[in-house]
Amino acid sequence: MPSRRRTLLKVIILGDSGVGKTSLMNQYVNKKFSNQYKATIGADFLTKEVQFEDRLFTLQIWDTAGQERFQSLGVAFYRGADCCVLVYDVNSMKSFENLNNWREEFLIQASPSDPENFPFVLIGNKVDVDGGNSRVVSEKKAKAWCASKGNIPYFETSAKEGTNVEEAFQCIAKNALKSGEEEELYLPDTIDVGTSNQQRSTGCEC
């Protein structure tokens, strides 16, 4: 019988304005896409139940405003994050170039206990646009960036068509869980004694 106890995993989605943060979140949680999402003001989150190895987790996915000017608010929203998803638009070089900023800003504001090993996941979104003809950031380039940042897992998605979104978020959840479990070592209360069957989970190798 699966354990009833739920654990919250907090995930923050960051990236430039208009790269598709809200769309990714909604595609993953609600399996929906809309052309009419408004620019996110402030922050919001959606939750989704996920199951791993007989344990139920609540994935809390935070969507924030993408304009740089609002970054200073991050401090209120980033704290306690278990994983950070960086999103760029494969059709926008600028959104790719800004990834460093987003990553650094996150580490400063969230100040995780172990910044070196804090789990990030990179998503290159909008691969569907113009049949890929307007793409300006190559997969190779993105992967090189990921490698330089300590092998960040990388996914290419289309939030519009739902391509690869589920896979990306499974990896995100897994990474969040890993980071959460490390913390559990210091919080004996939250160790789950019900987890006995350690099955190998599928998904990304992160």
Binding site: I41, G66, Q109
Partner: protein, 674 residues
């Protein structure tokens, strides 16, 4: 508290005496507060720094400014800050000795100072705001003769002072905290304006919040006599902190009693429906008692319980296990709307009657009052909004406005040419332009596209919106474009139906609300801070709840304030709310009272369900589309009147949409050295 007035008169300028008195009075309320000794008593303190003509401005009136002397002293290697008002400053009869002692800062050790924020405008007075680690802050200290830089330099010689990475004007004291803490402290800095310690020393609800005070509340209460709001000055008895609370309690109990009476009436006689109030026209509301009588007269109309239809705001579902502290104003128990009933919107005839033969608004206040209580018929909006926004002067004639429009039309065309003339070749070398344009292009196509006026591909209005925003980002290049601006522009363009006119209305609006979009986000932080002060004043238990649950940053209200509820109401309702707020009729900051009104409506749900920050944010976001406008506006009106001067004093000067205090530096880009 029982001290004789004469004694106080004699001794109130004596800082030591004042401190000991405060200590005494506070310890009557909290027995453990006697632990710390008053540092001001030490005579062997070394004088480090002394500055004359440093003043506090309790109100916006020049006559009520209090000048004094700022001192830094050192005692056992701890640096202390004090500010003592001058004795016998006779410029103002209203300013009693007692008032002066109220603002005295008596030897605050720097170990309790979190940060110092400096304002050194090129024009106008320099001032600093000292924020304590408890989050409380002293009112701005104005350096009439300059010298803020010197002051900070001297502080720096004695305590560790680090410039905040977020804001070059903020200096963090004893900067040994974690980066997160550091960021937090600098973020909260705009909260560095006068704080009412009244509630924390003498909580309104009398009970539950006593435990929540923690040591800071009481400790600060001992010394922070100077952070009491200016509204106190008219009180009679001696303990200022007590005064404020008592004063409020009296007010609230009046209201509560009235509300109870009204409710009883409501439930016993249900015949008030449909009767039209005849009095709204001739009774502007100024004072609280007058307002009370107004409400009393109108009680027959008070049967709308709009919120009860709304599941999200229902209180009944809340479990009884959790003891929710009572609302001092008994808002949600009664589900009673207090303000005046909303009137039908103002029509053309009525508006014309407010103009003289040449088209001047005879009495702008009458117009603003009328709009405040009823809004404007849609067709008339394009005539009235430019007045409310400040684009048209109230005393302009038809002819002058016609002329203004034509001049402004040409001016707009010139401004628009500035970016229209940028060739693709030039654009390649103009990153900032490309980025701005990219951001605007992205945002206009996702602004109100479900609304008929903007729907469909290649919508001309969407193009106009883009042109206006791009032109604005050239007109105000320092501020540029920021997300949320398109939300403001959309209804304006829909109402004005003319690109140039919309542009200038938008410009006028941004004169007040530009700080919402400022890079340092200061305008937002100041408003969020003012909101927290208003909640503290109008619902102390709720304030305490937020405090306990780490929600005092009020970020969950960020969207409400940034775009003035644009995303919370449907389109037409947003326009109604905006025109009400733009009248600045009861308060320039009516939007903050609207925030308080909505929060109060949900208070027992928030506290009953023990919402944490995340849950609260989600809950507030999901209120969107579920808030009843009319009853909220009426609640806000009642709260605004109820809060009166104390409310106004809770809102720091320069809080948007008030114009900034110091002009020259509207949108500061960078700052230089210490």
């Amino acid at each position: 508290m029982s001290m004789e007035a004469s004694e106080l008169q004699d001794l109130s300028d004596d800082a030591d005496y004042a401190a000991s008195q405060q200590q005494g009075s506070a310890s009557m309320m909290r027995s453990d507060s006697g632990k710390r000794s008053s540092p001001s008593e030490h005579e062997d303190a070394e004088l480090i720094y002394l500055k004359d003509n440093v003043a506090i401005h309790p109100t916006q009136f020049a006559s009520e400014r209090i000048s004094g002397r700022l001192k830094l002293t050192k005692q056992d290697s701890v640096l202390f800050l004090s500010w003592i008002p001058y004795k016998g400053q006779t410029s103002n009869a209203k300013l009693s000795e007692k008032d002066r002692s109220l603002y005295t800062i008596t030897a605050v050790p720097f170990t309790e100072v979190r940060s110092i924020r400096r304002h050194t405008p090129t024009l106008g007075w320099q001032y600093v705001i000292v924020v304590l680690s408890s989050g409380l802050a002293f009112p701005p200290l104005y350096f009439y003769n300059g010298g803020v830089r010197e002051f900070l330099a001297i502080v720096k010689q004695h305590v560790f002072l680090a410039r905040s990475s977020e804001d070059p004007n903020v200096f963090i004291v004893n900067d040994f905290q974690s980066p997160l803490q550091r960021t937090l402290s600098s973020l909260e800095l705009p909260s560095s304006l006068p704080v009412a310690s009244g509630q924390s020393v003498y909580p309104l609800d009398g009970g539950s919040s006593n435990e929540n005070q923690g040591r800071t509340g009481a400790d600060i209460g001992n010394r922070v006599s100077s952070v009491i709001q200016s509204g106190l000055r008219k009180q009679k008895s001696h303990d200022p902190t007590r005064d404020l609370s008592i004063h409020l309690l009296e007010k609230f109990s009046l209201v509560t009693k009235f509300a109870r009476d009204t409710t009883t009436q409501l439930f016993s006689e249900n015949n008030g429906f449909g009767s039209v109030d005849k009095r709204w026209n001739n009774q502007p509301v100024h004072s609280y008692p007058e307002k009370l009588s107004n409400i009393a007269e109108e009680k027959h109309n008070e049967i709308r319980h709009s919120y009860s239809e709304n599941d999200l705001l229902k209180d009944e579902e809340i479990s009884n296990d959790i003891d929710v502290p009572a609302d001092p104003l008994e808002f949600n128990k009664l589900s009673l709307v207090w303000g005046k009933p909303r009137q039908p919107p103002m029509g053309h005839k009525e508006f014309t009657a407010l103009l003289d033969s040449e088209g001047r608004v005879v009495e702008s206040k009458a117009l603003r009052e009328r709009v405040f209580y009823g809004g404007i018929e849609h067709q008339l909006r394009r005539e009235v909004w430019p007045f409310l926004l400040g684009y048209y002067a109230y005393d302009s004639t038809y002819a002058e406005r016609e002329y203004l429009r034509s001049v402004k039309r040409m001016e707009y065309a010139t401004l628009k040419q500035q970016w229209q003339s940028i060739s693709p070749e030039q654009a390649k070398r103009f990153t900032k332009y490309r980025e701005r344009k990219g951001l605007i292009d992205k945002d206009v196509v996702r602004t109100d596209r479900a609304f008929e006026y903007y729907e469909g591909d290649d919508n001309l209005h969407v193009n106009s919106m883009r042109d206006i925003l791009l032109t604005y980002s050239f007109y105000n290049f320092d501020l540029g474009y920021c997300q949320g601006m398109s939300d403001y522009l959309s209804p304006i363009l829909f109402v004005m139906e003319d690109e140039s006119e919309s542009f200038w209305c938008f410009v006028a609006l941004m004169e007040c609300l530009g700080p919402n979009f400022n890079r340092d986000q200061n305008g937002m932080h100041t408003q969020l801070f003012a909101l927290s002060k208003l909640v503290e004043l109008l619902d102390t238990p709720l304030h305490n709840y937020f405090k306990q649950n780490d929600c005092l940053n009020y970020f969950f209200c960020f969207r409400w304030i940034l775009i003035q509820f644009k995303r919370e109401f449907e389109y037409e309702k947003t326009m109604q709310l905006w025109e009400v707020m733009w009248t600045h009729y009861l308060s320039e900051h009516f939007h903050l009272y609207v925030c308080v009104a909505v929060l109060k409506r949900c208070r027992s749900k928030i506290m009953g369900e023990q919402m944490d920050f995340d849950t609260l944010l989600k809950f507030i976001n999901e209120l969107s589309g579920h808030i009843d406008l009319d009853s909220t506006v009426r609640d806000a009106e009642a709260l605004c009147i109820c809060a009166g001067e104390n409310g106004a004093a809770s809102i720091p000067p320069g809080t948007p949409p008030s114009l900034p205090l110091d002009d020259g530096t509207l949108y500061p880009q960078e700052d230089d050295v210490l």
